[in-house]
Symmetry: C2
């Protein structure tokens, strides 16, 4: 018999809600969710409409994953590692300290085993995940005083969350949990000695330079953190194939776009911050090495009782060995030469 | 009155042909065109169908832009710099020697002025361009003998194309134009002394290691080369907004995906090549510096008679200064530390 035209049925009218873990003021992060919504809504002629809600409008930012799991919202734009307290495996979806850089992370997700392995894990939480943004290496945070050695770190009260908090505890740091808006007054009053946030563009908005001018790098706990779209797994499975494809393309495009956005805005922001008095300092090699060694201890501790973490960690680690061998050749020597020109004022 | 349901009209049935500048055998390059076609075709339920043709199936690879300009095909997947002989401004769409790296290139295109400026130029050729892939920094090529100094370079016959060829001429190199398939026999017989191609994954396929084992880095003429979708401008303007959006998302996703593909495959390929006898060598600082200085001379020569080139070049240059200042902080120190761990066997 003759097939009926299938167009209308292939394109059901859907309205989804996406809760972001970020406030609108962090526009490089928040705007990626708008990019996803725009591509999906436009690409479907408005038939598959995604509405974005800032953190707190439906649920608090750090409850986004739970809202997806239980179907309160169809999807969220969030960081997997926010939920590492439930299961440390979540941390591997974003970045672990001394993990892959941004490009290596994308390589592992899209062409290595990353997306497959993480989605096997996410499925146990009723979630389907798509990488949807990456900040690049973040900064190491703002300190009231110079930190020249491991000894200087001991006893410092530092706003730092997640796995990194557990690692710096081994170095004698007293990690503090504070919401973004509470950091400035705590630094100002000396309630805390230091605080990590994101990078120049985001950090500038909060004005930390005025109260804690020593600005350290690199943020070794965030070498290439991915922001995810978390989608309710049943809702994902119910989508027509065309909508699944459209959403997949939109998220991959947004992933590219967020990094480009940061890479465009951070250079101007770092100059502004230096003009405002920021004193740039790199963490010393002994601090980095001690943190690196402590991170390996922590991964061994977690892996001993969490086989899912252990197997995904090892998969990522194996790629990291080869990726950092290759990265030393063309990429690193090119960038090094160009940085010499920059320092010589020859660009 | 009542509006009629607009679905069918909003989604006309279109069949487009995309000619690739690449053969199927260069799968990291060619597959990006398949990715674009898949996202667009799937995302439109097959209503906007893009068929991909390998180089030579409709037109030769280096005639892809002309085929778009004159409407032989609706679109192409090609490198803008292939057409620099028509107008050097085309080179700025892909990469110029000592230009931006891959992430900086995306920043300039998507959040700086890159896409706007390049499309003002492309429009004069009846083309609309969307970045659709990036290889990352390429390798510097294969040499039969070691090149230890500027003196060693003099008189070397090297397969190298485009602007880079014009620059190395200033260093005494005799640039040669050879199609990919002609490189191996020319190297084997000593007709040429060296040849640049792409990077480990692509180069391995052509077996250069057997006849020219010295494998140099970095490919300073390709710090972050973009592969473009070139779309016939009238065809682009006729597209419904939903198809424009879908194609835009697909190209940005493919841009991300190609880099991830290379970054996943190159690490394994470099190990294979070394096992096959490749001798890795970095270009000496005096060679890089002489090439850098020569590139600035060439840009000044071109800019003096090509104001479009000059204005886009200056726009890119201004961003490059700040981008390479910022890149020295978090990204570079993070990667450096991780590379030390890699060399110490501690990853």
């Amino acid at each position: 018999g003759l097939a009926a035209p299938a167009i209308a049925q292939d394109r059901p009218k859907l309205q989804w809600r996406m809760t972001s873990s970020f406030p609108k003021s962090l526009d490089t992060l928040y705007d990626a969710s708008l990019t996803i919504a725009k591509y999906v809504t436009e690409g479907s002629d408005g038939q598959f409409e995604i509405q974005v809600f800032a953190a707190g409008e439906i649920v608090p930012g750090l409850q986004a994953a739970d809202a997806v799991t239980n179907g309160t919202v169809e999807m969220a734009h969030t960081c997997s590692y926010y939920y590492w307290g439930q299961d440390a495996t979540f941390a591997l979806g974003t970045s672990i300290p001394f993990g892959l850089n941004a490009r290596q992370t994308n390589a592992w997700f899209y062409h290595g085993d990353g997306n497959r392995l993480m989605n096997e894990f996410f499925a146990t939480k009723n979630i389907y995940g798509l990488p949807s943004g990456n900040t690049g290496v973040q900064m190491g945070g703002w300190y009231r005083n110079e930190i020249n050695s491991l000894e200087d770190l001991k006893g410092q009260k530092v706003r730092i969350a997640g796995l990194a908090g557990r690692i710096v505890e081994k170095l004698g740091v007293v990690p503090q949990q504070l919401a973004g808006g509470d950091i400035y007054p705590a630094l100002e009053k000396g309630v805390i000695d230091g605080a990590e946030f994101v990078g120049p563009y985001d950090d500038e908005k909060l004005g930390f330079v005025k109260v804690a001018p020593f600005y350290y790098y690199p943020g070794w706990w965030e070498g290439g953190p991915t922001v995810h779209s978390f989608i309710n797994l049943e809702k994902w499975n119910e989508l027509p194939k065309s909508y699944q494809s459209l959403l997949t393309a939109a998220c991959q495009a947004a992933n590219c776009d967020m990094t480009a956005n940061y890479d465009y805005k951070n250079p101007a922001a770092i100059k502004t911050l230096v003009n405002q008095g920021a004193k740039l300092r790199s963490f010393s090699q002994d601090i980095l090495q001690a943190a690196y060694d402590a991170s390996k201890e922590v991964y061994a501790e977690i892996g001993a009782s969490n086989p899912t973490f252990q197997s995904i960690y090892e998969n990522q680690l194996e790629f990291k060995r080869d990726a950092y061998l290759w990265a030393q050749l063309a990429e690193y020597t090119y960038d090094t030469f160009m940085m010499i020109q920059q320092r010589n004022g020859a660009i």
